[in-house]
């Protein structure tokens, strides 16, 4: 199979036009004739960006899970929930389906994203030829599930906002909300920075 980089063709990231590149080589850039964006064969410094974003996300991951995400107060009862205890609360109330959805979105997806992106970066750095199709599929699934982790942030924001309207209870966001939103945004940026073509640059089977 012919690849774009071998015949001097690249896709513009701005408008998806296939551009005939004027120079060859890894760092060649040509202005897109349609939208004037700078067209390259590969995303620039992709690996460095992904690693930096992953490290930042990992650093925020711990406060995001250990700290309180939501305070609830309805006289005489007070609760301080972390993400995990929020899931347990839903489960204990009998909302098993929702508990599982929140567990998947808030706990499984962020871990999966950090782990899978780390694995993709390591395997492409080592020019691994191991199952490139499966690794590409793994990357595509990360793109799809990425933003669903925002679920808990919305729940806290909504509950807080709605409860302000009534006089029956008080709900306040906890210190974990910002780090948690940070993890989700940083991992979304990290998966957008990864260049899946790196999987195939060395792993091509003829």
């Amino acid at each position: 199979m012919i690849r774009g980089i071998d015949v001097g063709l690249a896709t513009c990231h701005g408008c998806e036009l296939v551009v005939r590149m004027r120079d060859v080589g890894d760092h060649a850039a040509t202005a897109c004739p349609r939208c004037d964006a700078s067209v390259r064969f590969r995303k620039r410094n992709a690996r460095t960006h992904v690693i930096a974003l992953l490290v930042a996300a990992l650093a925020l991951y711990f406060p995001a899970n250990a700290l309180t995400i939501m305070y609830t107060e309805q006289f005489p009862e007070r609760r301080a929930d972390t993400i995990l205890s929020g899931v347990r609360y839903l489960w204990a109330r009998g909302s098993w389906g929702l508990a599982m959805i929140v567990f998947a979105a808030s706990i499984v997806v962020p871990v999966l994203k950090l782990g899978a992106l780390g694995f993709l970066v390591v395997s492409t750095t080592r020019h691994s030829a191991w199952r490139p199709r499966a690794r590409t599929r793994l990357y595509r699934s990360l793109e799809v599930i990425g933003h669903w982790s925002m679920l808990d942030v919305f729940v806290v924001a909504l509950l807080t906002a709605v409860v302000q309207l009534g006089q029956f209870a008080r709900v306040k966001p906890g210190p974990a909300v910002l780090p948690f939103a940070g993890v989700v945004i940083l991992t979304m940026l990290a998966s957008a920075s990864f260049d899946a073509r790196a999987i195939w640059d060395r792993g091509m089977r003829e």
Binding site: G4, L17, L158, V162
Partner: protein, 201 residues
């Protein structure tokens, strides 16, 4: 072969020759099985979905998402009331996050789409076509209305412990908006570029 007839797989860089599928079928890469492109959709249909989304957006903003009752006390919570209340109670982050994801982002996206689609359907080139397309492409991955809808459902269940919460018409608007936006992302933006190429002098 002219470059315009070629497509590169964005996941593995394999060169494909573009063939027009019958409908809006998804064409997959022979090497890595990723979706490469899909058949051109009808711009009129895309405009219709955008208008539907715009109406749903107004409904989601204007009508109550929830009606809360606790004892004799009853509150209808529209999105705007909830945002204003959290701003007044010194929770600016909550207010800003909700405003950006639920009001500003969908309003910009729908506005840009209308700005592009109405002239293109009338076969003229919209003003600032290139930069508008760029903005639309940048915003697409950050769309969160679907996640918000699931968030409302979880919030209702959690609220049930504090008060009786009944979903209102605003929530129906959010659901339709999420569906319409999902259906819009199944249209290839390349379709707009090709139509613009046809109508440009």
């Amino acid at each position: 072969v002219p470059a315009a007839e070629l497509v590169l797989c964005s996941y593995c860089d394999t060169v494909h020759r573009r063939i027009e599928p019958a409908g809006r079928e998804i064409m997959r890469c022979v090497v890595c099985d990723s979706p490469v492109y899909r058949g051109d959709g009808d711009l009129g249909a895309m405009l219709a979905v955008t208008v539907t989304a715009a109406i749903a957006f107004l409904v989601a903003n204007a009508l109550p998402l929830l009606t809360l009752s606790s004892g004799s006390h009853q509150t209808r919570a529209t999105l705007w009331h909830a945002i204003a209340a959290s701003y007044d109670r010194e929770l600016p982050f909550v207010a800003i996050a909700l405003t950006l994801t639920l009001i500003v982002a969908p309003a910009i996206e729908l506005g840009l789409l209308l700005w592009l689609l109405v002239p293109l359907c009338l076969r003229t080139l919209p003003l600032g076509f290139t930069s508008t397309m760029g903005l639309l492409r940048t915003l697409r991955p950050w769309r969160m209305v679907g996640v918000f809808f699931l968030g409302v459902i979880v919030a209702v269940v959690k609220l049930a412990a504090l008060a009786t919460a009944v979903p209102g018409w605003g929530m129906f608007g959010v659901a339709v908006l999420a569906l319409a936006l999902a259906s819009l992302s199944s249209f290839d933006l390349g379709t707009l570029w090709r139509r613009a190429g046809e109508v440009a002098p």
